[in-house]
């Protein structure tokens, strides 16, 4: 395996030794990303590259050797991550962010690990998440999609929503109810669902921007092998919490920029171009938006510095809320600058189209991945230590819980 240590008996190298090794390895193998990244994402070249990364032990360095890892502590794994980042090379440190692989390794049966881990690490298999439902958004533990035992297998029925990549996924990570008589958090189980079967009907979901990044999925008598139950029956909520932690580590600064490139991103140039830079009211709002952006950057820099010194910072959990505020405020400012033009739409009005898009797409951040309101609950409870709201559905059979 590319001459790298593969047994746990070998003492780990020093950080310097490892850095030299990785640098050398990358110099010999990494030839850089092709110009068109969208093509690369699904190319055989990418799979071949990820094969090499997995075989070298760089994909999941903190994992055991039996599962493509090196049993490294995270400080050593960080060296690999840094060198890959410096080279712009993909595929390292998936032990930090690959939701399916990590969840399978931690809770999966031997059969499941054998079936999916290598394929998801090398990109041969794609996964999607069957979490949210029309009746379970902020309150995810209220899912009603149901899995029922059928001999050795499970049969699943229900509806999922906000799944991205469902049309191309090979597996779905599913949270489903297996016991309607247990209180809501205790009647859930976690599964890996093979997507290529007749019981899975994927339909695109159109967003308020007119784009479609997500799907809704109708599940009718879909079959899940018994070995694909992840964790114990009824223990799905705990498995989900682990999976969500990996998901959060992925959701950094996810906000997309404008969809037309004709518009100067620079708010000052925009205001100047519209002859509005001398308007005192506009200047007030401009200063406000620029300050929000800069303060968020300063907060993030401070959180990073704190993290580097080993102290945790509450600033981390504030980032998403801050970004939602910024995006809405910025869209409001752009609307104010563009004025009546925002009555228009379409490719022939790129500037208006752009402003209108940003105004709508700001909700992607203030709703997606936990609404601002849920985010404020989390900050209030986990950072400030405020007591939770009483939960009326916590300790009664789920069957009896009120629904919409």
């Amino acid at each position: 395996m590319a001459g790298t240590p593969e047994t746990t008996d070998t003492p780990p190298p020093s950080a310097e030794e490892l850095r030299a090794e990785v640098r050398d390895w990358l110099a010999r193998h990494w030839t850089g990303l092709p110009p068109n990244r969208d093509v690369w994402r699904t190319s055989p070249e990418r799979t071949a590259w990820l094969d090499k990364v997995v075989d070298a032990g760089y994909a999941v360095p903190t994992w055991p050797a039996a599962w493509h890892g090196r049993g490294y502590p995270s400080e050593l794994a960080a060296v690999i991550e840094q060198e890959f980042a410096a080279a712009g090379a993909a595929g390292a440190r998936q032990d930090k962010y690959n939701i399916a692989a990590n969840t399978a390794l931690k809770f999966g049966t031997e059969q499941l690990k054998h079936d999916i881990i290598r394929d998801v690490l090398t990109g041969r298999a794609a996964t999607c998440l069957f979490y949210s439902e029309p009746g379970a958004g902020s309150d995810l533990a209220a899912v009603r999609t149901t899995a029922v035992r059928d001999g050795k297998d499970w049969v699943v029925n229900g509806q999922k929503v906000w799944t991205s990549g469902a049309a191309t996924a090979d597996y779905a990570l599913l949270i489903a109810r297996t016991d309607w008589d247990a209180p809501k958090h205790r009647g859930l189980s976690y599964f890996v669902v093979p997507m290529h079967q007749p019981g899975i009907d994927v339909r695109p979901l159109v967003q308020i921007t007119g784009e479609s990044h997500f799907n809704e999925v109708f599940i009718t008598d879909a079959v899940v092998p018994g070995e694909y139950l992840v964790g114990a029956e009824g223990d799905g909520w705990r498995v989900l919490q682990t999976a969500l932690a990996y998901e959060r580590s992925v959701m950094g600064d996810g906000a997309r920029a404008s969809r037309n490139h004709t518009l100067a991103d620079d708010l000052i140039s925009l205001a100047r171009a519209h002859g509005r830079l001398d308007d005192p009211v506009l200047r007030f709002h401009l200063a406000k938006v620029l300050a929000l952006r800069e303060l968020n950057a300063l907060n993030n820099a401070r959180a990073k510095a704190d993290a580097a010194q080993g102290t945790s910072s509450p600033v981390m959990s504030l980032g998403k809320l801050a970004m939602a505020n910024i995006l809405h405020a910025e869209a409001g400012l752009r609307t104010e600058i563009a004025g009546a033009e925002t009555l228009l739409a379409g490719a022939e009005n790129p500037e208006a189209d752009d402003v209108n898009f940003l105004a709508l797409n700001a909700f992607f951040t203030s709703i997606g991945g936990g609404t601002d309101q849920i985010q404020r609950n989390i900050i209030g409870e986990r950072v400030l230590g405020l007591p939770k709201e009483p939960e009326v559905d916590r300790n009664i059979p789920f069957r009896q819980v009120r629904r919409s």
């Binding site: 200047r283 303060l295 230590g385």
Partner: protein, 372 residues
Amino acid sequence: MAISAAERTALREAVRDLLQDACTEQDVRKVMNSDEGFDRGLWRQLAELGVVGMLIDPGYGGSGFGALELEAVTEETGAALLPSPFISSGVLAASLIQAAGPPADRERLLPALASGQSIATVALTGTKGTWTADGVDVTAAADGTLTGAARYVTFGQAADVILVAARTADGIGVFEVAPDAAGFTRTAESVFDPTVRLSAYAFDGTPARRLGTAGWDAVQDALDLAVVALAGEQAGGARRILDITVEYLKTRVQFGRFIGSFQALKHFAADLLLEVESATSAARHAAAQYAAAHDPAVGGDSSAADGAVALAGFACAEAFETTALQAIQMHGGIGFTWEHPAHLFLRRARSGAQLFGGSRAHRERYLVSKGA
């Protein structure tokens, strides 16, 4: 002289310990009702700790610290609502004398300021209260006598070293006036925030000495440092009143529940935490940029420092005011009483939002620094 982050933390903790002991809410209230508006005993202790002379060169008896250390200390003085002439004497006047005063004046004035024996102030603005060159309402005649008025002079009654910005034939000059000079009268203003005392000064043919060649640029530089100090106080004050409020949300019960479990209040608190953290980032960033721009070894960018100071100038003032306002609302009835400390924080937030140039001016300067 800059010290390590660990030493800065130690300095900050020493100040916190002293203030926890000697600047409790009860102490603040006592001083609020006193004539002078600050505690001379505590002032001596702050001098002994090296706070009062922290910006003054060691050659003149100070510690020779810079903006970073200043900001760390003021987060603590702001949290304690320390009523003291520190910013007007130890920051504004000391840095102005140090940067612009001729060596003889520095030797004559700085050691007593560093030891706390003397207290200085700088009269910078007239009735308009803009803290800009065109807001100066004192004029120097050719014979060096001053005529006119200054207002909002911080701790102007206690000062025995009095600096005054005045219009001259060649622009703004900085003058020193003896406390007993002819034609000089000072009157204590009635103040909204009793922890920051203000005076009105009047000059009528008052003899004065010009302090070197210091002009408005030197004043602006000292004002910037005062804004950094004020921003640190505002970040510290905002954090303290939020802490007090969160504690109340965890202990106050209504409808059989701790009121912090109500999302209406919890969400306010989460938003305020973002305000407080942002203010802290802004104040520290301004200190770092100011320090870099004033360190010849670093050669920091002075326009970046302008922008950073201006950002802290309005962001910290507004964050403190928002936090203090919401704190009163979240406390409900008890927050509306004189005996609860919330209004003391609001008073300090409102005074800080005007001193040394308000948010409007800071915001404009921030935009200019960004090229708008």
